[in-house]
């Protein structure tokens, strides 16, 4: 599975990658980006199956990155999971309206990250069958 992790903290990126590994998700092909701009460049240059992204980042934040991905015909189908510390139901609804498929609230467990990946894989399989 080709995964892109977008977060301005290299520590957080390493924690997400490690947790994916503990959850049994292959992490050999994990790409990393430090902000939304780098995230879009990584998407344009690599086949990516799922994006995990933070919201508050310098240069380009997560919301702007998501809006640009969803407006781009070549990128719009990629599943996006927001990883954030915020627990506001209002904010989560706003993100879903932007086309975010998953939300992972920090701190998260390997089981939670596995559930999100499995749910997205199921949706992707259903879409392929349709």
């Amino acid at each position: 599975m080709n995964i892109l992790i977008v977060d301005d903290s290299s520590t957080v990126r390493a924690v997400i990658k490690r947790t994916l590994g503990i959850a049994g998700v292959p992490t050999d092909d994990v790409q990393q980006a430090a902000n939304g701009q780098e995230g879009i460049e990584a998407l344009q240059n690599n086949p990516i199956d799922i994006v995990f992204t933070d919201i508050n980042m310098p240069v380009m934040g997560g919301v702007e990155m998501i809006e640009r991905i969803r407006a781009d015909d070549a990128l719009r189908a990629v599943p996006i999971v927001v990883v954030s510390t915020e627990g506001s139901a209002t904010r989560i609804a706003e993100l879903q309206a932007l086309g975010v498929q998953g939300y992972l609230r920090k701190p998260f467990t390997p089981e939670a990250i596995r559930r999100v990946v499995d749910d997205l894989a199921e949706v992707s399989n259903e879409n392929s069958r349709a």
Partner: protein, 156 residues
């Protein structure tokens, strides 16, 4: 409000530290002078705004940061990578604590905007001054003394 708020602070802090770094939090009883100021410490601050605004701060011994990073990353505390990522790990702990604390205080409806965590070196004298504040709560995290300080208001 203050008592309820500080109780909630301790509960959420304990849960977050255990989940993120597998470390255990103990409250220090009021008047307990057994915990001296560390010789080298760091403080991290995070401002928040929304339903209410303020600033949450955490002060820790510098050596605790590497252990925090090591536990979060599955490394040894003397691993150069854990040492390099120690300050970043402290800021991430503060970020996660603040987000979860605001939900605990205000529920899941309000939207809060969190700033970017900042860290600064902190002297033992600064430590003692912060510890004396009525809105500072001291804890022991494993064997390390930790101070949490929360201010509500725009000048937080």
């Amino acid at each position: 409000m203050k008592t309820v708020g500080l109780d909630t602070l301790g509960e959420v802090f304990g849960e977050i530290v255990e989940q993120m770094a597998f470390m255990f939090v103990e409250a220090i009883e009021e008047g307990d002078e057994a915990v001296p100021a560390p010789s080298e410490c760091l403080i991290a601050h995070l401002k928040f705004g929304g339903e209410f605004s303020g600033k949450l701060s955490i002060a820790v011994p510098t050596e605790m940061c590497a252990e925090l990073a090591a536990n979060m990353l599955g490394e040894e505390a003397d691993d150069p990578d854990a040492i390099a990522k120690g300050t970043d790990a402290l800021k991430e702990l503060l970020n996660v604590l603040c987000g979860n604390l605001l939900t605990a205080f205000a529920g899941e409806d309000p939207v809060f905007d969190l700033g970017v965590p900042e860290s600064l070196p902190f002297s033992p004298e600064d430590w003692e001054a912060l510890k004396a504040s009525p809105v500072t709560v001291p804890y022991i995290v494993d064997e390390y003394p930790v101070l949490l300080h929360i201010n509500f208001g725009d000048d937080g």
